[in-house]
Symmetry: C2
């Protein structure tokens, strides 16, 4: 039994004494909302933003927001109430008072008899609600994004990006545990990596440069260096239309590994998705609850179906004939996820055996079925969240495929460095690219990838 | 005593069962170099690249490289030796044989009586050495970078980027432990964030867009959301000259935190640098050894000196008069680091009290010394690796500083979203930007930031 799996990345960080006071920034004059209940019966000072204000007469209280949550503060003294007169949500406050256990308050305690100091007054009403859920209806998305700077202070919006950060971290930790090395490839390139029209061009000291549409070539090159490598970085596509799935800038999880076969690649991604779901549901339960997110139904091994099989079943079931088509229809993607959810207890499915005619030059074709590529898409809850393949690793075959697909020879400027990796030895390898925003969207159950993007960019939007 | 410091990010991941076989990709037909010694006396199969070849007659051996290191394989059988005839370093091999303990071999064991399978032959000699240290003399850097795709397979080059990955991970884990949330801000912007000529412009569907020169505005906006936020992402500067310190694309660690004062900001960065050094020296000792890297001399609290003080001491010591200058000279930066190393046992120093005339509009000036900004540079081993400041958080003062510095009003397109954050409540806050490549360079002891960049970009270089 080999112990390839015994990797200590997690162990490593355990030994870091982060809660050693010498490496911790603690403000002794402040406690956080999450710690209020632990101070019951004592005096405490909080700092944060006015998050809600109910000073209507009977029960007068405010909510104070800090990075850890909100605290209810009962304000009865007229002089204190007066201080808040005319001030809006967002006002920065310092509040000192007595902590009293109170089951109905957030966190199980509240502050009474507060002395309030207005640190930074806000005299204008915010342009968007901070203390009530914001509408994510498609008709309201422009309002949502136009007011993003302030709207993100809404706890429900915050939750999306806390989940996203947790997704990213779970992915990294899982990949570290499997011996992957993280790298950064350049996004400024001399030409379009994989050709195509959807590339941004820029002026580079009088020459033309482009923005990377993918890290494809670099991640394959890194297999020659580390065997297993990944990066999580921005990707740029000049998508000429605004859809619910596409943006001009998004974060891709690019993963590539050597000395593996097709099934091992699917296994890695299957495990990765499971690890992400396990961890996000464990560590971000509160945030997911704000969205009533339903835990995805996923088996340990995500099922696999060939494209031909899906076309056949879909055509039979719906009466729409897709047999022989070279891609899945959007409706078919939704249909197959529902089908596998019902019949295979999986809201995710790998679509395999793509037509070679649609393959990229670097895709590996099946040695025994050269009309099919060893490529897959991972569909999850009705949408493609990742696409990957084995790569052709044999120099001569790769050069031939390049010639056949693009007309370029091995010394063409856009390809020569990539091909060097193969000329000087590349093992069987494969990998995938997965969109961080799409994954976040589908985990939470949003309906537009932009909702899972802090400051989305598309053909119509470059701000805020 | 508040328990703000008890943060469980690390704890969280501990509970992930990454070495549970169900989420681990293990090839049962292969062991890794690092595990060879544990198999002494047994048969084993390895897969990897031919890394060194000594088949000269007497002692015939090869080194096989995989992601975990190299294994020595003694080849005595003529038929096996013949298989390697004409094949070069980089050839992909599968080697089965008997593991024998051997003190002089890397890892303390070697393979004897091997059966060799050539999986992918390499018939051309690599354009750069893989098994010997590569020259990093400045005259040879173009050769180094032109051949980067293959040169990175050199263990000594690999080591740089393993250290870099560890630096990045240590930074993230420390920031997580201090309640920071990771975010991604857009790099496609409608205009130059902070003005200036060194901005890349691109065609965005017929309009003009620019590439982010910094995440400054977004990280400050995120303070209004999470109090503490960071991102580690690419930054773009159209630097018109090729120097040892500048590139057109680099990775910045952008950190911003609210409800703090200037000293707390310095404390955070002081701790961060110490945590990075501790962890890299603990976890990447082998890699650092390949570069004979010397552990930086750093006290728990990095010393602080004002710019005026440094000018005075430097002028007295060197006879060069810099008193009254509004920046440090490059030579002065080197000098002060040597000075603090000798006198204060610190190879790092915070330079504080920068002239307000040189400040950005968002810098906070000292309330009691309005001719000085609450800004710092962190110098480390002779070079600036981070720059930061407290930010002006009061809307009216900020609007005035914007007007005074740039002539723009609060509704100017480049500033209006940024200013929203302040209009609706921002606490005292500050942050810094630190260059990942410069930090890596200085930790290892390299002399050009490009040596610490996988595929560097400058005015003359857009490839590989």
């Amino acid at each position: 039994m080999c112990d390839e799996a015994v990797v200590t990345v997690n162990g490593k960080w355990e030994s870091l004494e982060f809660d050693n006071p010498s490496v911790t920034i603690v403000r002794m004059d402040r406690i956080l909302s999450r710690d209020v209940a632990g101070h019951a019966g004592k005096k405490a000072t909080l700092q944060g933003w006015l998050h809600k204000k109910r000073l209507l007469g009977r029960l007068n209280f405010i909510l104070l927001r800090d990075r850890s949550g909100v605290t209810q503060i009962v304000v009865e003294d007229e002089a204190e109430i007066k201080k808040l007169h005319g001030l809006h949500i967002g006002t920065v406050l310092v509040v000192s008072g007595t902590v009293v256990a109170e089951k109905r308050a957030p966190g199980g305690a509240e502050i009474r008899d507060p002395k309030i100091t207005v640190a930074v007054p806000v005299t204008d009403e915010p342009p968007i609600e901070i203390d009530k859920p914001l509408s994510h209806k498609s008709a309201n998305l422009d309002t949502l994004f136009d007011n993003r700077v302030i709207g993100l202070r809404n706890l429900r919006e915050q939750a999306i990006f806390k989940v996203q950060a947790a997704v990213k971290e779970a992915i990294r930790q899982y990949l570290f545990s499997q011996d992957f090395v993280e790298f950064n490839s350049p996004k400024l390139l001399p030409g379009a990596t994989e050709g195509g029209a959807d590339v941004f061009k820029l002026d580079y000291f009088g020459k033309e440069a482009t923005l990377a549409q993918s890290a494809q070539f670099y991640k394959q090159i890194m297999v020659g260096v580390y065997e297993r490598a990944f990066e999580i970085n921005p990707t740029y596509r000049a998508e000429p239309s605004a859809t619910t799935r596409h943006m001009t800038e998004f974060i891709t999880i690019d993963v590539e590994m050597g000395f593996i076969d097709f099934n091992e690649l699917l296994d890695l991604l299957s495990n990765l998705l499971n690890v992400v779901v396990d961890n996000v549901w464990k560590n971000k339960a509160q945030e997911l609850k704000l969205w009533e997110a339903k835990r995805p139904v996923l088996p340990a091994t995500i099922p696999t179906m060939t494209m031909a099989e899906i076309h056949e079943r879909y055509s039979k079931d719906t009466g729409e004939n897709s047999v022989g088509e070279k891609d899945l229809r959007p409706d078919e993607e939704r249909w197959i996820c529902e089908y596998t959810a019902k019949n295979l207890k999986s809201q995710a499915v790998f679509v395999t055996q793509w037509p070679a005619s649609e393959a990229k030059f670097y895709h590996k074709l099946y040695d025994d079925k050269p009309k099919l590529a060893e490529r897959f898409d991972l569909l999850f809850r009705g949408v493609e969240i990742a696409t990957g393949s084995l790569r052709e690793h044999r120099y001569d075959k790769l050069v031939k495929q390049l010639k056949d697909k693009t007309g370029s020879g091995p010394d063409a400027p856009g390809f020569k460095y990539f091909l060097q990796a193969f000329r000087y030895g590349m093992p069987p390898h494969g990998g995938f690219g997965m969109g961080l925003e799409r994954l976040t969207e589908k985990i939470i159950g949003l309906s537009n990838v932009k909702e899972a993007t802090l400051f989305p960019r598309d053909i119509n939007r470059l701000t805020p």
